[in-house]
Protein backbone atom coordinates (compact mmCIF):
# COMPACT_ATOMS: atom_id res chain seq x y z
CA UNK A 1 0.00 0.00 0.00
CA UNK A 2 1.26 3.40 -0.87
CA UNK A 3 1.85 5.76 1.97
CA UNK A 4 0.81 9.39 1.91
CA UNK A 5 3.10 11.80 3.66
CA UNK A 6 4.20 15.36 3.64
CA UNK A 7 7.42 15.46 1.70
CA UNK A 8 10.39 16.32 3.85
CA UNK A 9 12.82 16.55 0.96
CA UNK A 10 11.82 20.08 0.11
CA UNK A 11 12.00 21.45 3.59
CA UNK A 12 15.52 22.88 3.40
CA UNK A 13 14.52 24.90 0.33
CA UNK A 14 11.05 25.84 1.39
CA UNK A 15 9.95 29.33 2.15
CA UNK A 16 8.44 29.51 5.64
CA UNK A 17 4.77 28.68 5.65
CA UNK A 18 4.77 27.39 2.06
CA UNK A 19 2.26 24.65 1.27
CA UNK A 20 4.38 21.66 0.32
CA UNK A 21 1.49 19.54 -0.86
CA UNK A 22 1.52 15.81 -0.56
CA UNK A 23 3.50 12.84 -1.77
CA UNK A 24 2.82 9.17 -2.20
CA UNK A 25 5.61 6.62 -2.07
CA UNK A 26 5.10 3.38 -3.95
CA UNK A 27 7.07 0.51 -2.45
CA UNK A 28 9.09 -2.35 -3.91
CA UNK A 29 5.88 -4.25 -4.64
CA UNK A 30 4.51 -1.47 -6.84
CA UNK A 31 7.32 -0.77 -9.28
CA UNK A 32 6.97 1.69 -12.14
CA UNK A 33 7.55 -0.21 -15.39
CA UNK A 34 9.43 2.01 -17.80
CA UNK A 35 9.53 2.06 -21.60
CA UNK A 36 13.28 1.49 -21.41
CA UNK A 37 12.59 -1.96 -20.00
CA UNK A 38 13.82 -0.98 -16.55
CA UNK A 39 11.71 -0.55 -13.46
CA UNK A 40 11.76 2.04 -10.74
CA UNK A 41 10.98 0.98 -7.16
CA UNK A 42 10.47 2.42 -4.70
CA UNK A 43 9.44 5.77 -6.11
CA UNK A 44 7.58 8.84 -4.92
CA UNK A 45 5.05 11.09 -6.66
CA UNK A 46 4.68 14.57 -5.16
CA UNK A 47 1.52 16.48 -5.99
CA UNK A 48 -0.67 19.42 -5.11
CA UNK A 49 -4.44 19.38 -4.93
CA UNK A 50 -6.92 22.24 -5.04
CA UNK A 51 -10.64 22.01 -4.29
CA UNK A 52 -12.55 19.07 -2.84
CA UNK A 53 -13.12 15.62 -4.27
CA UNK A 54 -16.86 14.94 -4.34
CA UNK A 55 -18.37 11.81 -2.85
CA UNK A 56 -18.75 10.09 -6.23
CA UNK A 57 -15.10 10.96 -7.00
CA UNK A 58 -16.32 12.26 -10.34
CA UNK A 59 -15.05 15.85 -10.30
CA UNK A 60 -11.29 15.23 -10.51
CA UNK A 61 -9.29 17.25 -13.01
CA UNK A 62 -5.65 16.44 -13.69
CA UNK A 63 -3.26 19.21 -14.65
CA UNK A 64 0.04 18.18 -16.28
CA UNK A 65 2.97 20.56 -16.10
CA UNK A 66 5.44 21.55 -18.80
CA UNK A 67 9.20 20.85 -19.00
CA UNK A 68 10.28 23.30 -16.33
CA UNK A 69 6.97 23.45 -14.47
CA UNK A 70 6.05 21.63 -11.31
CA UNK A 71 3.11 20.71 -9.13
CA UNK A 72 2.75 24.23 -7.73
CA UNK A 73 0.28 25.26 -10.42
CA UNK A 74 -1.92 27.46 -8.28
CA UNK A 75 0.03 28.05 -5.09
CA UNK A 76 3.17 29.93 -4.08
CA UNK A 77 6.34 28.22 -5.17
CA UNK A 78 8.24 26.98 -2.12
CA UNK A 79 11.63 27.93 -3.60
CA UNK A 80 10.99 31.13 -5.52
CA UNK A 81 7.98 32.39 -3.57
CA UNK A 82 6.36 33.27 -6.88
CA UNK A 83 2.69 32.64 -7.58
CA UNK A 84 1.70 29.41 -9.30
CA UNK A 85 2.34 29.06 -13.03
CA UNK A 86 -1.39 28.59 -13.71
CA UNK A 87 -2.64 30.83 -10.93
CA UNK A 88 -4.86 32.69 -13.42
CA UNK A 89 -6.41 29.43 -14.62
CA UNK A 90 -7.01 27.45 -11.42
CA UNK A 91 -8.94 28.71 -8.40
CA UNK A 92 -12.30 29.69 -7.02
CA UNK A 93 -14.40 31.11 -9.86
CA UNK A 94 -11.53 30.74 -12.34
CA UNK A 95 -11.74 28.74 -15.60
CA UNK A 96 -10.72 25.55 -13.77
CA UNK A 97 -13.05 26.33 -10.90
CA UNK A 98 -11.94 24.80 -7.60
CA UNK A 99 -15.43 25.37 -6.21
CA UNK A 100 -16.56 22.76 -8.70
CA UNK A 101 -13.53 20.61 -9.45
CA UNK A 102 -10.88 18.71 -7.50
CA UNK A 103 -7.63 19.61 -9.22
CA UNK A 104 -4.60 17.32 -8.99
CA UNK A 105 -1.23 18.49 -10.27
CA UNK A 106 1.61 15.98 -9.89
CA UNK A 107 5.32 16.57 -10.41
CA UNK A 108 6.48 14.36 -13.31
CA UNK A 109 8.70 11.34 -12.85
CA UNK A 110 12.30 12.48 -13.35
CA UNK A 111 11.40 15.87 -11.88
CA UNK A 112 13.11 17.59 -9.01
CA UNK A 113 10.31 18.88 -6.81
CA UNK A 114 9.58 15.79 -4.80
CA UNK A 115 8.77 13.15 -7.39
CA UNK A 116 11.60 10.68 -7.81
CA UNK A 117 14.25 11.91 -10.22
CA UNK A 118 18.00 11.77 -10.81
CA UNK A 119 18.72 14.10 -7.89
CA UNK A 120 17.23 11.65 -5.40
CA UNK A 121 19.17 8.98 -3.60
CA UNK A 122 19.29 5.55 -5.17
CA UNK A 123 18.20 3.24 -2.33
CA UNK A 124 20.61 0.60 -3.67
CA UNK A 125 23.68 2.77 -3.18
CA UNK A 126 22.53 5.48 -0.81
CA UNK A 127 23.96 8.04 -3.25
CA UNK A 128 22.17 10.30 -5.73
CA UNK A 129 21.09 8.48 -8.89
CA UNK A 130 22.75 10.88 -11.27
CA UNK A 131 23.16 9.16 -14.62
CA UNK A 132 22.25 5.77 -13.16
CA UNK A 133 18.63 7.01 -13.13
CA UNK A 134 16.75 5.20 -15.92
CA UNK A 135 15.79 7.14 -19.04
CA UNK A 136 12.12 8.04 -18.92
CA UNK A 137 9.42 8.81 -21.48
CA UNK A 138 6.20 10.79 -21.56
CA UNK A 139 4.36 7.47 -21.27
CA UNK A 140 6.32 6.66 -18.10
CA UNK A 141 5.23 10.00 -16.63
CA UNK A 142 1.62 9.15 -17.45
CA UNK A 143 1.93 5.65 -15.98
CA UNK A 144 3.12 7.15 -12.71
CA UNK A 145 0.17 9.59 -12.77
CA UNK A 146 -2.25 6.71 -13.33
CA UNK A 147 -0.76 4.94 -10.30
CA UNK A 148 -1.26 8.16 -8.31
CA UNK A 149 -4.93 8.19 -9.30
CA UNK A 150 -5.23 4.52 -8.30
CA UNK A 151 -3.76 5.34 -4.91
CA UNK A 152 -6.23 8.20 -4.50
CA UNK A 153 -9.09 5.86 -5.43
CA UNK A 154 -9.99 7.90 -8.52
CA UNK A 155 -11.02 5.65 -11.39
CA UNK A 156 -11.86 8.33 -13.91
CA UNK A 157 -10.98 11.99 -14.26
CA UNK A 158 -13.28 14.56 -15.78
CA UNK A 159 -10.46 16.19 -17.70
CA UNK A 160 -6.70 16.09 -18.20
CA UNK A 161 -5.22 19.43 -19.20
CA UNK A 162 -1.74 20.68 -19.92
CA UNK A 163 0.35 22.95 -22.09
CA UNK A 164 3.49 22.09 -24.08
CA UNK A 165 5.00 18.95 -22.50
CA UNK A 166 1.88 18.92 -20.34
CA UNK A 167 -0.11 18.66 -23.57
CA UNK A 168 2.03 15.71 -24.65
CA UNK A 169 1.06 13.98 -21.42
CA UNK A 170 -2.60 14.79 -22.14
CA UNK A 171 -2.33 13.12 -25.56
CA UNK A 172 -0.55 10.13 -24.05
CA UNK A 173 -3.26 9.89 -21.39
CA UNK A 174 -5.93 9.79 -24.08
CA UNK A 175 -4.03 7.10 -25.98
CA UNK A 176 -3.00 4.97 -22.98
CA UNK A 177 -6.09 5.21 -20.79
CA UNK A 178 -9.05 6.22 -23.00
CA UNK A 179 -11.53 4.90 -20.43
CA UNK A 180 -10.05 6.88 -17.57
CA UNK A 181 -10.66 10.39 -18.89
CA UNK A 182 -13.89 12.04 -19.95
CA UNK A 183 -12.15 14.88 -21.73
CA UNK A 184 -8.70 16.06 -22.74
CA UNK A 185 -7.28 19.53 -23.36
CA UNK A 186 -3.83 19.55 -24.98
CA UNK A 187 -2.67 23.17 -25.29
CA UNK A 188 0.22 24.30 -27.51
CA UNK A 189 1.19 20.65 -27.81
CA UNK A 190 2.35 18.22 -30.46
CA UNK A 191 2.01 14.49 -30.99
CA UNK A 192 5.72 14.30 -31.74
CA UNK A 193 8.84 16.29 -31.09
CA UNK A 194 10.08 17.71 -34.39
CA UNK A 195 13.69 17.71 -35.59
CA UNK A 196 13.85 21.41 -34.74
CA UNK A 197 12.53 20.78 -31.22
CA UNK A 198 15.10 18.03 -30.68
CA UNK A 199 17.83 20.28 -32.03
CA UNK A 200 17.08 23.02 -29.51
CA UNK A 201 17.00 20.51 -26.69
CA UNK A 202 20.34 19.09 -27.75
CA UNK A 203 21.90 22.56 -27.58
CA UNK A 204 20.63 22.86 -24.02
CA UNK A 205 21.88 19.44 -23.00
CA UNK A 206 25.30 20.03 -24.52
CA UNK A 207 25.57 23.28 -22.56
CA UNK A 208 25.02 21.32 -19.34
CA UNK A 209 27.36 18.46 -20.33
CA UNK A 210 30.08 20.97 -21.28
CA UNK A 211 30.02 22.64 -17.86
CA UNK A 212 33.03 21.29 -15.93
CA UNK A 213 30.94 21.46 -12.76
CA UNK A 214 28.60 18.85 -14.16
CA UNK A 215 31.17 16.15 -13.21
CA UNK A 216 29.58 13.40 -15.28
CA UNK A 217 26.29 13.96 -13.49
CA UNK A 218 27.75 13.48 -10.02
CA UNK A 219 27.88 17.14 -9.08
CA UNK A 220 25.96 16.56 -5.86
CA UNK A 221 28.69 14.23 -4.61
CA UNK A 222 31.33 16.81 -5.47
CA UNK A 223 29.42 19.67 -3.95
CA UNK A 224 29.30 21.54 -7.25
CA UNK A 225 26.47 22.59 -9.56
CA UNK A 226 26.60 23.02 -13.35
CA UNK A 227 24.64 26.22 -13.01
CA UNK A 228 26.35 27.98 -15.92
CA UNK A 229 25.51 25.18 -18.31
CA UNK A 230 21.95 24.92 -17.03
CA UNK A 231 21.50 28.70 -17.28
CA UNK A 232 22.68 28.66 -20.91
CA UNK A 233 20.28 25.77 -21.62
CA UNK A 234 17.45 27.80 -20.14
CA UNK A 235 18.44 30.92 -22.07
CA UNK A 236 18.45 29.07 -25.38
CA UNK A 237 15.15 27.38 -24.61
CA UNK A 238 13.54 30.59 -23.43
CA UNK A 239 14.04 32.16 -26.86
CA UNK A 240 11.97 29.37 -28.36
CA UNK A 241 9.11 30.07 -25.95
CA UNK A 242 8.71 33.64 -27.24
CA UNK A 243 7.95 35.00 -30.66
CA UNK A 244 10.18 37.27 -32.68
CA UNK A 245 7.40 39.89 -32.65
CA UNK A 246 7.07 39.77 -28.86
CA UNK A 247 10.84 40.08 -28.36
CA UNK A 248 10.92 43.04 -30.71
CA UNK A 249 7.97 44.70 -29.03
CA UNK A 250 9.28 44.12 -25.50
CA UNK A 251 12.98 44.82 -26.02
CA UNK A 252 13.75 45.90 -29.55
CA UNK A 253 17.37 47.03 -29.64
CA UNK A 254 17.04 48.93 -26.37
CA UNK A 255 20.17 49.12 -24.23
CA UNK A 256 20.30 48.08 -20.58
CA UNK A 257 21.23 50.89 -18.16
CA UNK A 258 23.51 52.60 -20.66
CA UNK A 259 23.42 55.04 -23.55
CA UNK A 260 26.24 53.69 -25.65
CA UNK A 261 27.76 50.31 -26.43
CA UNK A 262 30.29 49.00 -23.93
CA UNK A 263 32.60 47.81 -26.70
CA UNK A 264 33.01 44.74 -24.54
CA UNK A 265 30.97 41.60 -23.86
CA UNK A 266 28.88 43.11 -21.11
CA UNK A 267 25.14 42.59 -21.52
CA UNK A 268 24.60 45.81 -23.50
CA UNK A 269 21.11 44.99 -24.73
CA UNK A 270 17.99 44.61 -22.61
CA UNK A 271 17.25 41.27 -24.26
CA UNK A 272 20.64 39.97 -23.08
CA UNK A 273 20.05 41.09 -19.56
CA UNK A 274 16.55 39.57 -19.63
CA UNK A 275 17.89 36.21 -20.81
CA UNK A 276 20.64 36.27 -18.17
CA UNK A 277 17.99 36.82 -15.54
CA UNK A 278 15.92 33.94 -16.90
CA UNK A 279 18.98 31.68 -16.81
CA UNK A 280 20.17 32.62 -13.35
CA UNK A 281 16.77 32.44 -11.67
CA UNK A 282 16.16 29.03 -13.21
CA UNK A 283 19.17 27.27 -11.69
CA UNK A 284 17.96 27.97 -8.16
CA UNK A 285 14.86 25.87 -8.68
CA UNK A 286 15.79 23.23 -11.22
CA UNK A 287 18.15 20.27 -11.22
CA UNK A 288 20.50 19.98 -14.22
CA UNK A 289 20.16 16.21 -14.52
CA UNK A 290 16.37 16.48 -14.36
CA UNK A 291 16.63 18.89 -17.28
CA UNK A 292 18.62 16.31 -19.25
CA UNK A 293 16.18 13.51 -18.52
CA UNK A 294 12.96 15.41 -19.13
CA UNK A 295 14.13 17.00 -22.39
CA UNK A 296 15.07 13.50 -23.53
CA UNK A 297 11.60 12.23 -22.67
CA UNK A 298 10.11 14.95 -24.88
CA UNK A 299 12.48 14.10 -27.74
CA UNK A 300 11.41 10.46 -27.65
CA UNK A 301 7.73 11.38 -27.86
CA UNK A 302 6.05 10.29 -31.10
CA UNK A 303 2.53 8.93 -30.67
CA UNK A 304 2.08 8.05 -34.34
CA UNK A 305 5.20 5.89 -34.28
CA UNK A 306 4.03 4.13 -31.12
CA UNK A 307 0.60 3.25 -32.51
CA UNK A 308 1.21 2.94 -36.26
CA UNK A 309 -0.62 6.18 -36.97
CA UNK A 310 -1.97 9.06 -34.99
CA UNK A 311 -5.55 8.09 -35.83
CA UNK A 312 -4.90 4.57 -34.50
CA UNK A 313 -3.66 6.06 -31.23
CA UNK A 314 -7.15 7.49 -30.69
CA UNK A 315 -9.30 4.85 -32.40
CA UNK A 316 -12.54 4.18 -30.58
CA UNK A 317 -11.87 6.94 -28.09
CA UNK A 318 -14.93 8.20 -26.27
CA UNK A 319 -12.93 11.10 -24.87
CA UNK A 320 -13.99 14.64 -25.75
CA UNK A 321 -11.01 16.69 -26.95
CA UNK A 322 -10.36 20.41 -27.05
CA UNK A 323 -7.13 21.29 -28.82
CA UNK A 324 -5.75 24.78 -28.41
CA UNK A 325 -2.90 26.41 -30.34
CA UNK A 326 -1.50 29.93 -30.63
CA UNK A 327 -0.86 31.71 -33.92
CA UNK A 328 2.66 32.91 -33.01
CA UNK A 329 3.84 29.62 -31.46
CA UNK A 330 6.64 28.39 -33.70
CA UNK A 331 7.86 25.72 -31.27
CA UNK A 332 4.58 23.76 -31.22
CA UNK A 333 2.92 25.45 -34.18
CA UNK A 334 -0.73 25.35 -35.19
CA UNK A 335 0.14 22.92 -37.99
CA UNK A 336 1.22 20.29 -35.42
CA UNK A 337 -1.97 20.83 -33.44
CA UNK A 338 -4.00 20.58 -36.60
CA UNK A 339 -2.40 17.21 -37.34
CA UNK A 340 -3.84 16.02 -34.04
CA UNK A 341 -7.27 17.42 -34.87
CA UNK A 342 -7.22 15.70 -38.27
CA UNK A 343 -6.21 12.40 -36.70
CA UNK A 344 -9.00 12.70 -34.16
CA UNK A 345 -11.48 13.40 -36.95
CA UNK A 346 -10.20 10.33 -38.74
CA UNK A 347 -10.77 8.36 -35.53
CA UNK A 348 -14.32 9.82 -35.39
CA UNK A 349 -13.49 11.28 -32.00
CA UNK A 350 -15.29 14.24 -30.49
CA UNK A 351 -12.94 17.15 -31.04
CA UNK A 352 -12.85 20.92 -30.86
CA UNK A 353 -9.92 22.90 -32.14
CA UNK A 354 -9.31 26.50 -31.21
CA UNK A 355 -6.46 28.61 -32.54
CA UNK A 356 -5.93 31.75 -30.51
CA UNK A 357 -4.49 34.84 -32.12
CA UNK A 358 -1.63 36.30 -30.11
CA UNK A 359 1.90 37.46 -30.82
CA UNK A 360 3.32 36.11 -27.55
CA UNK A 361 4.54 32.75 -28.80
CA UNK A 362 4.59 29.33 -27.19
CA UNK A 363 4.47 30.68 -23.63
CA UNK A 364 1.01 32.13 -24.31
CA UNK A 365 -0.53 29.20 -22.48
CA UNK A 366 0.98 30.58 -19.25
CA UNK A 367 -0.05 34.17 -19.89
CA UNK A 368 -3.14 36.30 -19.50
CA UNK A 369 -4.95 35.25 -22.68
CA UNK A 370 -8.68 35.94 -22.21
CA UNK A 371 -9.65 33.78 -25.17
CA UNK A 372 -7.78 30.81 -23.68
CA UNK A 373 -9.58 31.30 -20.37
CA UNK A 374 -12.95 31.62 -22.13
CA UNK A 375 -12.29 28.45 -24.12
CA UNK A 376 -11.26 26.37 -21.10
CA UNK A 377 -14.14 27.70 -19.01
CA UNK A 378 -16.73 26.91 -21.66
CA UNK A 379 -15.31 23.52 -22.57
CA UNK A 380 -14.87 22.29 -18.99
CA UNK A 381 -18.25 23.71 -18.06
CA UNK A 382 -19.94 21.86 -20.88
CA UNK A 383 -18.10 18.60 -20.08
CA UNK A 384 -19.00 18.90 -16.39
CA UNK A 385 -22.64 19.70 -17.05
CA UNK A 386 -22.95 16.73 -19.36
CA UNK A 387 -21.33 14.54 -16.69
CA UNK A 388 -23.82 15.83 -14.12
CA UNK A 389 -21.26 17.66 -11.97
CA UNK A 390 -22.95 20.38 -9.96
Amino acid sequence: MAEIANPIFLKPLAAPGADMGQAITFGEKQPLSLDSGRTLAPFTVAFMTYGELNRAKSNAVMVCHALTGDQFAASRHPVTGKRGWWDMMIGSGKPIDTDRFFVICPNVIGGCMGTTGPADNDPATGRPFGLSFPLITIRDMVRAQAMLLDALGIERVLCVLGGSMGGMQVLQWAASFPDRLVSAVPIAAAARHSAQNIAFHEVGRQAILADPEWRNGEYALHGTNPSKGLAVARMAAHITYLSEAALQRKFGRALQNRNTFSFAFEPDFQIESYLHHQGISFVDRFDANSYLYITRAMDYFDLAADYGSLAKAFRGSGTRFCIVSFTSDWLFPTAENKRIAHALNAAAANVSFVEIETDRGHDSFLLDEPELFATIRAFLGSVATRAGIA
Binding site: N345, A348, N350, F353, E355, A374, S382
Partner: protein
Protein backbone atom coordinates in the same frame (compact mmCIF):
# COMPACT_ATOMS: atom_id res chain seq x y z
CA UNK B 1 -39.17 23.89 -29.82
CA UNK B 2 -40.92 26.79 -31.49
CA UNK B 3 -39.65 29.53 -29.16
CA UNK B 4 -36.10 28.21 -29.56
CA UNK B 5 -36.16 28.25 -33.32
CA UNK B 6 -37.57 31.77 -33.40
CA UNK B 7 -34.74 33.97 -34.54
CA UNK B 8 -32.87 31.09 -36.13
CA UNK B 9 -32.39 31.32 -39.88
CA UNK B 10 -35.53 29.77 -41.50
CA UNK B 11 -33.56 27.18 -43.46
CA UNK B 12 -31.81 26.12 -40.26
CA UNK B 13 -35.12 25.79 -38.40
CA UNK B 14 -36.40 23.66 -41.27
CA UNK B 15 -33.28 21.49 -41.21
CA UNK B 16 -33.56 21.10 -37.43
CA UNK B 17 -37.07 19.73 -37.82
CA UNK B 18 -35.71 16.98 -40.10
CA UNK B 19 -33.29 15.58 -37.52
CA UNK B 20 -34.15 12.76 -35.15
CA UNK B 21 -33.35 13.13 -31.43
CA UNK B 22 -30.06 11.60 -30.29
CA UNK B 23 -28.61 11.41 -33.81
CA UNK B 24 -24.89 11.75 -34.52
CA UNK B 25 -24.70 14.97 -36.50
CA UNK B 26 -21.88 16.70 -38.38
CA UNK B 27 -22.61 20.29 -39.37
CA UNK B 28 -20.22 21.35 -42.12
CA UNK B 29 -19.89 25.13 -42.20
CA UNK B 30 -21.64 25.51 -38.86
CA UNK B 31 -21.00 29.26 -38.54
CA UNK B 32 -21.41 30.43 -34.96
CA UNK B 33 -23.15 27.20 -34.06
CA UNK B 34 -26.80 28.31 -33.93
CA UNK B 35 -28.16 25.12 -35.47
CA UNK B 36 -25.71 22.87 -33.66
CA UNK B 37 -26.50 24.37 -30.27
CA UNK B 38 -30.21 24.05 -30.94
CA UNK B 39 -29.80 20.38 -31.90
CA UNK B 40 -27.60 19.61 -28.89
CA UNK B 41 -29.96 21.26 -26.42
CA UNK B 42 -33.34 20.44 -27.92
CA UNK B 43 -32.63 17.10 -29.56
CA UNK B 44 -29.74 15.80 -27.49
CA UNK B 45 -27.76 15.01 -30.62
CA UNK B 46 -24.08 14.07 -30.56
CA UNK B 47 -23.18 17.16 -32.55
CA UNK B 48 -19.91 18.18 -34.19
CA UNK B 49 -19.06 21.04 -36.47
CA UNK B 50 -16.51 22.14 -39.03
CA UNK B 51 -16.17 25.84 -39.70
CA UNK B 52 -13.80 27.78 -41.93
CA UNK B 53 -13.64 30.96 -39.85
CA UNK B 54 -11.47 30.61 -36.76
CA UNK B 55 -13.40 33.41 -35.09
CA UNK B 56 -16.63 31.46 -35.51
CA UNK B 57 -14.96 28.26 -34.28
CA UNK B 58 -13.83 29.99 -31.10
CA UNK B 59 -17.35 31.32 -30.61
CA UNK B 60 -18.76 27.79 -30.99
CA UNK B 61 -16.32 26.27 -28.49
CA UNK B 62 -17.17 29.16 -26.19
CA UNK B 63 -20.77 27.90 -26.35
CA UNK B 64 -19.63 24.42 -25.34
CA UNK B 65 -19.90 22.94 -28.83
CA UNK B 66 -17.43 20.52 -30.45
CA UNK B 67 -16.16 22.35 -33.48
CA UNK B 68 -12.91 22.27 -35.44
CA UNK B 69 -11.51 24.82 -37.81
CA UNK B 70 -11.48 23.25 -41.24
CA UNK B 71 -12.30 23.53 -44.91
CA UNK B 72 -15.04 21.42 -46.49
CA UNK B 73 -12.97 21.20 -49.67
CA UNK B 74 -9.94 19.62 -48.03
CA UNK B 75 -10.79 18.32 -44.57
CA UNK B 76 -13.80 16.07 -45.15
CA UNK B 77 -11.39 13.51 -46.57
CA UNK B 78 -10.14 12.87 -43.00
CA UNK B 79 -13.44 11.50 -41.77
CA UNK B 80 -14.11 7.77 -41.90
CA UNK B 81 -17.16 6.49 -43.76
CA UNK B 82 -20.65 6.25 -42.25
CA UNK B 83 -19.72 7.60 -38.82
CA UNK B 84 -22.53 10.16 -38.67
CA UNK B 85 -26.28 9.63 -38.93
CA UNK B 86 -26.70 13.04 -40.51
CA UNK B 87 -24.30 15.40 -42.24
CA UNK B 88 -25.49 18.97 -42.83
CA UNK B 89 -24.16 21.45 -45.36
CA UNK B 90 -26.24 24.61 -45.13
CA UNK B 91 -25.72 27.51 -47.53
CA UNK B 92 -22.13 26.44 -48.11
CA UNK B 93 -21.93 24.20 -51.17
CA UNK B 94 -22.02 27.19 -53.53
CA UNK B 95 -18.87 28.54 -51.87
CA UNK B 96 -16.80 25.36 -52.18
CA UNK B 97 -14.14 24.89 -54.83
CA UNK B 98 -15.30 21.41 -55.72
CA UNK B 99 -19.00 20.91 -54.94
CA UNK B 100 -19.08 17.46 -56.51
CA UNK B 101 -16.25 16.08 -54.41
CA UNK B 102 -17.69 17.75 -51.28
CA UNK B 103 -21.05 16.11 -52.00
CA UNK B 104 -19.40 12.73 -52.50
CA UNK B 105 -17.64 13.02 -49.14
CA UNK B 106 -20.87 14.07 -47.40
CA UNK B 107 -22.67 11.05 -48.80
CA UNK B 108 -19.79 8.81 -47.73
CA UNK B 109 -19.56 10.16 -44.17
CA UNK B 110 -23.25 10.42 -43.34
CA UNK B 111 -26.19 8.05 -43.43
CA UNK B 112 -28.30 11.00 -44.45
CA UNK B 113 -27.06 14.20 -46.05
CA UNK B 114 -28.94 17.48 -45.80
CA UNK B 115 -27.89 20.23 -48.19
CA UNK B 116 -29.41 23.69 -48.41
CA UNK B 117 -28.45 26.29 -50.99
CA UNK B 118 -29.74 29.45 -52.69
CA UNK B 119 -31.60 28.71 -55.92
CA UNK B 120 -29.98 30.48 -58.86
CA UNK B 121 -33.01 29.59 -60.98
CA UNK B 122 -35.25 32.00 -59.05
CA UNK B 123 -37.18 34.34 -61.38
CA UNK B 124 -35.66 37.51 -59.91
CA UNK B 125 -32.20 36.24 -60.73
CA UNK B 126 -33.25 35.20 -64.23
CA UNK B 127 -34.85 38.60 -64.77
CA UNK B 128 -31.83 40.55 -63.50
CA UNK B 129 -29.64 38.94 -66.09
CA UNK B 130 -32.24 38.95 -68.84
CA UNK B 131 -33.62 42.47 -68.51
CA UNK B 132 -30.83 44.45 -66.84
CA UNK B 133 -27.92 42.53 -68.25
CA UNK B 134 -26.25 42.65 -64.81
CA UNK B 135 -25.02 39.91 -62.50
CA UNK B 136 -27.95 39.40 -60.12
CA UNK B 137 -27.86 40.66 -56.55
CA UNK B 138 -30.71 39.51 -54.33
CA UNK B 139 -31.46 39.30 -50.63
CA UNK B 140 -30.08 35.76 -50.54
CA UNK B 141 -27.14 36.56 -52.81
CA UNK B 142 -26.15 40.10 -51.96
CA UNK B 143 -22.56 40.24 -53.17
CA UNK B 144 -21.13 42.01 -56.17
CA UNK B 145 -19.74 39.59 -58.77
CA UNK B 146 -16.15 40.62 -57.98
CA UNK B 147 -16.30 39.91 -54.26
CA UNK B 148 -18.70 37.01 -53.93
CA UNK B 149 -17.57 33.87 -52.12
CA UNK B 150 -20.31 32.03 -54.04
CA UNK B 151 -18.26 30.65 -56.88
CA UNK B 152 -20.38 27.61 -57.77
CA UNK B 153 -24.01 28.70 -57.84
CA UNK B 154 -26.61 26.30 -59.14
CA UNK B 155 -30.34 25.92 -59.68
CA UNK B 156 -32.58 23.30 -58.06
CA UNK B 157 -32.57 21.37 -61.34
CA UNK B 158 -28.77 21.53 -61.53
CA UNK B 159 -28.37 20.17 -58.02
CA UNK B 160 -30.90 17.39 -58.55
CA UNK B 161 -28.88 16.43 -61.61
CA UNK B 162 -25.62 16.31 -59.62
CA UNK B 163 -27.28 14.12 -56.99
CA UNK B 164 -28.43 11.63 -59.62
CA UNK B 165 -25.05 11.60 -61.34
CA UNK B 166 -23.48 10.60 -58.04
CA UNK B 167 -25.84 7.72 -57.51
CA UNK B 168 -27.57 9.23 -54.50
CA UNK B 169 -31.28 9.25 -53.78
CA UNK B 170 -33.38 12.32 -53.00
CA UNK B 171 -35.37 11.29 -49.93
CA UNK B 172 -37.23 14.59 -49.79
CA UNK B 173 -36.78 18.18 -50.89
CA UNK B 174 -38.18 21.48 -49.68
CA UNK B 175 -38.58 24.88 -51.30
CA UNK B 176 -37.75 27.93 -49.21
CA UNK B 177 -39.70 31.10 -49.88
CA UNK B 178 -38.35 34.60 -49.42
CA UNK B 179 -40.40 34.90 -46.23
CA UNK B 180 -38.74 31.80 -44.85
CA UNK B 181 -41.63 29.42 -45.41
CA UNK B 182 -40.78 25.87 -46.40
CA UNK B 183 -42.87 23.49 -48.41
CA UNK B 184 -42.21 20.08 -49.83
CA UNK B 185 -41.40 20.18 -53.52
CA UNK B 186 -40.88 17.94 -56.51
CA UNK B 187 -37.36 18.48 -57.75
CA UNK B 188 -38.23 17.75 -61.37
CA UNK B 189 -41.07 20.31 -61.61
CA UNK B 190 -40.42 23.72 -63.22
CA UNK B 191 -42.35 25.68 -60.56
CA UNK B 192 -40.02 25.42 -57.56
CA UNK B 193 -36.98 26.07 -59.73
CA UNK B 194 -38.55 29.36 -60.77
CA UNK B 195 -40.18 30.46 -57.53
CA UNK B 196 -38.14 29.01 -54.65
CA UNK B 197 -35.57 31.34 -53.15
CA UNK B 198 -33.67 28.38 -51.77
CA UNK B 199 -33.85 24.63 -51.43
CA UNK B 200 -33.23 21.93 -48.87
CA UNK B 201 -32.41 18.44 -50.10
CA UNK B 202 -32.39 15.34 -47.92
CA UNK B 203 -30.20 12.71 -49.57
CA UNK B 204 -29.31 9.11 -48.91
CA UNK B 205 -26.97 6.70 -50.59
CA UNK B 206 -29.03 4.64 -53.00
Amino acid sequence: MIPRTRGMRPDLAAIASLIAPGARVLDVGCGEGDLLEHLVIEKQVDGRGIELSQQNVNACVGRGLSVVQGDADTDLADYPSSVFDVVILSQTIQATRSPRSVLQHLLRIGGKTIVSFPNFGHWRIRFALLLEGRMPRTAALGYHWYETPNIHLCTITDFAQLVHENGARIESAFALSQKGRTRRMATDAWGPNLFAQGAIFVLTKS
